[in-house]
């Protein structure tokens, strides 16, 4: 085939695909409705999953370990200690508060309780110099604890380290819950994705099954495999593109609606405000993922589905 002929053939395949899509619009709508639903679920579960990750990150960030140093600890000792803490693998960041800074922070934290503030004045500052440690992984505080409990390190401290005081237990529980939710989220995303692949594959298979006679006729007229298959693949890719776009529009509309009506931006543990932000800021990526899913599943399914009707009798 010459170059020009090949070009005209490619053009005809695309053109036929588009025309077939329009002429089989009822079949197309039925197939796309199913694709839209599954792609929307996949997209939603993806966003929910990221939102949970974020929530967990935030809660984790609120937890810190405070180390209270004795007043006599020299700045050289302090610097050395901070360096050693930094070297622990489970440490995300280390902040040092001098006696004065600790007092300022204390005043800020308790700005609504004048009595407490009065008790701790500039002249009579009861607050020790403090090292605040943010751990990487909350569930693995053992490393930090055992380091701080080493006798020579403990000797530098006035009090045992505090693990975010009384909040710790509550935070522990929430962390545990979100951890479980996040695991469920990852599994759900995978399950929904797999199920949606299967459902879309089946839908396209059905759509092509309905038109197997057409394939058979074209085959009998001597049309080549690619020339028969091409328009079906183009048509399925159109399904994929439109379904992906529609599912993104649906999610967008859902966020729009929920942010308008729900005063509280949080639905239980799901931080809708963040989910909405995440969706807005990752719009291009999410749209691309959806398009890729729709196009790839559409193309591959139609290729597999047409295969069986293109075989020749061998016996």
């Amino acid at each position: 085939m010459s170059g020009k002929r090949r070009l005209i053939t490619v053009w005809r395949i695309i053109n036929n695909g588009v025309v077939n899509f329009i002429r089989n619009i009822s079949l197309a709508i039925a197939a796309m409705a199913i694709m839209v639903v599954t792609l929307t679920i996949v997209l939603f579960s993806l966003i929910v999953n990221y939102t949970f990750s974020h929530t967990i990150y935030q809660i984790t960030n609120k937890i810190d370990v405070s180390v209270y140093l004795k007043n006599r600890v020299t700045s050289a000792e302090t610097t050395k200690l901070i360096g050693e803490i930094r070297n622990l693998s489970n440490v995300q960041s280390v902040q040092y508060l001098s006696k004065e800074q600790a007092l300022k922070a204390y005043e800020q934290q308790n700005s609504n309780n004048q009595q407490l503030i009065q008790a701790a004045t500039e002249t009579n500052n009861p607050l020790p110099p403090t090292i605040i440690i943010k751990p990487v992984n909350l569930n693995n505080l053992g490393q930090i604890k055992s380091f701080l409990n080493e006798p020579n390190i403990a000797a530098l401290q006035t009090d045992p380290p505090s693990y975010s005081g009384q909040e710790k237990e509550a935070i522990d529980r929430i962390t545990h819950a979100t951890n479980v939710l996040q695991e469920i989220g990852v599994i759900a995303v995978i399950v929904f994705a797999v199920v949606s692949v299967l459902i879309i594959f089946n839908t396209i298979q059905m759509a092509i099954f309905n038109r197997r006679d057409e394939i058979q006729i074209m085959r009998l007229l001597g049309a080549g495999r690619g020339y028969i298959r091409g328009p079906f693949i183009v048509e399925s890719i159109i399904y994929g593109i439109l379904s992906a776009v529609i599912s993104v529009i649906i999610i967008n509309a859902a966020f729009q609606a929920s942010s308008g009506t729900l005063q509280a931006s949080s639905l239980g543990l799901l931080d809708i405000g963040y989910a909405n932000n995440y969706f807005d800021s990752h719009f291009i990526v999410l749209l691309t993922v959806e398009l890729a899913l729709g196009i790839v599943i559409g193309a591959v399914s139609s290729m597999i589905a047409t295969r069986r009707y293109l075989k020749f009798k061998t016996r």
Partner: protein
């Protein structure tokens, strides 16, 4: 042009053959009618010629192509050389009349201008000028069959196979279709027509091959046909 040598076909392994050692030789430009009652094996014979089915044994050579040496990817090329008309028309339901005919040209990569010139000429031969933009379901049976003929002849094949093309038509329309086949034959195409319509056979006065239970029981020139 068409050569069959002791060709047999059983649809199931070891089952009763639908065609039993058929030998047939058709010259170029010949008009041959294959007759036989329902179930005699006429359609099976046509399906072997289009390589829709494969013979169980025997040799088939059409237009110099030996079907035993035919590779899968060469089958479309073979089919492009043979025009086929089916009893149930087999038009593409989602394409217009023009597109149904032009499909046969588009798939071989013919240019748009040439297609625009060719298709109306062929539609004129089958008296369908003006129906270009109709869909198949908007046409009568006779018209649909003429579309199918237009599609079969638009590539000017050397051989035209028509399997009971009049089987679903009333006598008047049936005769229109037959007259078109005669016209195509006069232009130089070899025509193989199957039918069990006695009147058509008697009027045509052509070579008649009679099949019964998968066997050729008579093969006569200028023959009539009695059931």
């Amino acid at each position: 042009m068409i050569l069959l040598d002791r060709v047999s076909k059983s649809y199931s392994r070891g089952g009763k053959p639908s065609l039993d050692r058929i030998s047939l030789h058709v010259e170029p430009k010949e008009f041959v009618i294959v007759v036989g009652q329902s179930g005699a094996g006429k359609t099976t014979l046509m399906r072997l010629l289009t390589r829709e089915e494969r013979q169980t044994s025997g040799k088939i050579i059409v237009g110099g192509i030996d079907y035993d040496k035919l590779k899968d990817r060469e089958i479309p090329l073979l089919r492009r050389k043979i025009g086929v008309v089916f009893q149930d028309f087999k038009l593409l339901p989602n394409k217009t009349i023009f597109e149904n005919v032009s499909f046969a040209l588009e798939m071989v990569g013919m240019g748009n201008q040439e297609i625009k010139n060719t298709v109306p000429r062929v539609l004129e031969i089958v008296n369908l000028t003006g129906k270009e933009d109709n869909m198949p379901y908007e046409l009568s049976g006779g018209e649909r069959q003429r579309v199918a003929i237009a599609r079969a002849i638009v590539r000017q094949p050397k051989i035209l196979i028509a399997d009971e093309p009049t089987g679903n038509l009333d006598p008047k329309h049936a005769w229109d279709v037959i007259k078109i086949l005669e016209k195509i034959n006069r232009y130089g195409t070899t025509v193989l027509l199957t039918t069990h319509n006695q009147e058509i056979v008697n009027k045509l006065k052509r070579r008649v091959v009679t099949i019964k239970d998968g066997k050729i029981v008579s093969d006569r020139a200028n023959a009539g046909y009695k059931i």
